[in-house]
Subunit: 333 residues, 2 copies
DNA sequence: TTGTAGGCGTTATCAT
DNA sequence: ATGATAACGCCTACAA
């Protein structure tokens, strides 16, 4: 691989000049510039990005940590981040935390030690306090789908409480009064906020929260299955079910069908996140849209703006969920 | 950030010695080693991986190119690759090619210019000839889910033809004779091979291929919808349908249901890939398992072995699909 | 076992 | 506008 040195030789100019045309910041006369350019193509020269990084103290890479690489939710998030960053010539180093506190810490360490210029992370096991500590480090870091006071400008977050509220309200407006709730793990801030929204909607409609209609799931298909089974086994009555995410909704629907419950006539179900497959589920899932792809774009723009000074667009830190009406909720009289 | 130089000073040893304990390859006396270790923690020292890369001519990073970051198929693939590589302390730079020839070329260029030690790519728009050229470059490259003669040892591939064969055979064995086929884009090698397998199964059972029962889809939900609509509109008769991937199967099933066709009584459907959501579809989708996660692991092991000399496990270049029997295929008499 | 010194391929600060 | 030259932080013969 040709080096800048060989280029300078062939072009008959100095190292510095070649560097200048590579970065085309300082002015170089058109004539020398052309000579250099010619020499570069002739040698098939490609700047060594590692050397550039060392000399400039900028790796042009941003680290991304997500819980899982598979999973529709993270897929959309990464797609948003990558598209934005790639267009700016930055590269994305991706690693996983598996929703586990230790692994998330490790993942972040890993990325920092890799000299990332910035980090975009979606963590679920780390405490607010730890995140605050992280912001004090020398590597800029931003948190996806998380809101922590005092470091608001590091957070791109969704109003999960509003989402939970909208879901339950939709059911209420369809005439449902007996509403079961399958929550996500309450250690996860998202899950907690969604549940709070549910309670708020109930309260607003003068309905007391009934603990026998509550089940804490795992945000996976199994959580939905276990939850519905739990309700059914206990013989509680309900005409509708809100699940704190689409996976659990899907699981619950499968279980319902296997037990002779017809959807949505016997049971209305509403999900959360609007993952791609939610419209493939039968009946098509009514759910809450989580604009996570857009949030990924915004997170990337934030680092482009603050770290790379590449844009001065306004940053939207907070996003609002919306209801997606499909076929899994029916009216009751 | 502390440098190796400061560590050597504090420990009262030379630069080289510190380097030795970092890489702990050469022998260092226990006493000096401890002094160095102490100095490192005291200074909170972390090796600068960029400088390491420059000096050692090894970036410890492998580039991964996939068509999309969202999508269950790629998710599983990336998960396999990342898990394996991360465990070996290598990092993964991910970018996308969007199934487009130009973008795939660009993506690969991008990764190479980033000094990746190796590349693992899943491309759909590039020709075999181009891939062969790529293997001649200085960056080792391996191709996921692709088989190209003369560079077999760069390919981790699935026997797609066998998969296509198994799918149709399954239908045949359930008594179906009128089998419609929604193919993937025939420019994609995978899609082509799957279709070939279909034809082979037909032939083996003495059934002539009927061109009116063939439709070329786009590997997306819409392909399934368009395909089924096409067959229905043309009034051809068939009792079963094989789709070249699960997304199209899902689309077709949705369309069928919307047009009063009950599944699987009126129509049996079989998919391909066994993406996670295939079991959430109703009825649960019978499909062909594509062990893409495992293949990702294997690709990573291949680079660990050949590029980093980290293992000497045997490499399995070729994988076989298997049938997953679920509920979307019914018997016919 | 440990130290010395040159080199990895750029960028950036001075001069000129 | 261009050229020397010193960093950047580490690795690795080679020497001791």
């Amino acid at each position: 691989m040709a080096t800048i040195y060989e280029v300078s030789n062939l072009a008959g100019v100095s190292l510095a000049t070649v560097s200048r045309v590579i970065n085309n910041n300082a002015r170089v006369s058109d004539k020398t510039k052309q000579k250099v350019l010619d020499a570069m193509v002739q040698l098939g020269y490609r700047p060594n990005s590692i050397a550039q990084s060392l000399a400039s103290n900028c790796s042009n890479s941003v680290g991304v940590l997500v819980s899982e690489l598979n999973g529709a939710f993270f897929g959309q998030m990464m797609a948003g981040i990558e598209a934005e960053l790639r267009a700016a010539g930055k590269h994305v180093i991706i690693t996983t935390g598996h929703s586990d506190e230790e692994k998330e810490k490790e993942g972040i360490e890993f990325l920092i030690s890799r000299n990332c210029d910035a980090l975009i992370v979606h963590v679920e096991g780390l405490s607010d306090e730890y995140l605050i500590e992280l912001t004090k480090g020398s590597t800029p870091i931003i948190f996806m789908s998380r809101f922590v006071e005092t470091i608001e400008n590091h957070c791109i977050s969704l109003d999960n409480e509003l989402g939970g509220y909208l879901a339950t309200k939709n059911l209420l407006e369809h005439g449902h009064k007996d509403i079961a709730y399958i929550a996500g793990p309450q250690v996860k801030p998202d899950a907690k906020a969604r549940f709070t929204g549910h309670q708020k909607a109930l309260q607003e409609h003068g309905i007391a929260f009934d603990n026998t209609l509550y089940f804490e799931g795992d945000f996976c298909e199994t959580g939905g299955i276990d939850g519905l089974k739990y309700f059914l086994d206990n013989g509680v009555t309900f005409t509708s079910l809100v699940c704190a995410n689409d996976e659990m909704a899907s699981g619950a629907m499968t279980y319902a069908r296997e037990h002779g419950i017809s959807l949505p006539q016997d049971l209305s179900v509403i999900g959360f996140d609007n993952i791609i497959f939610s419209r493939h589920i039968y009946p098509k899932l009514t759910t809450i849209d989580n604009p996570v792809g857009e949030m990924g774009h915004m997170a990337a723009k934030l680092v482009l703006k603050n770290v790379y000074k590449k844009t001065d667009e306004d940053i939207q830190y907070s996003f609002e969920p919306t209801i997606i009406d499909r076929d899994s909720v029916s009216k009751i009289n």
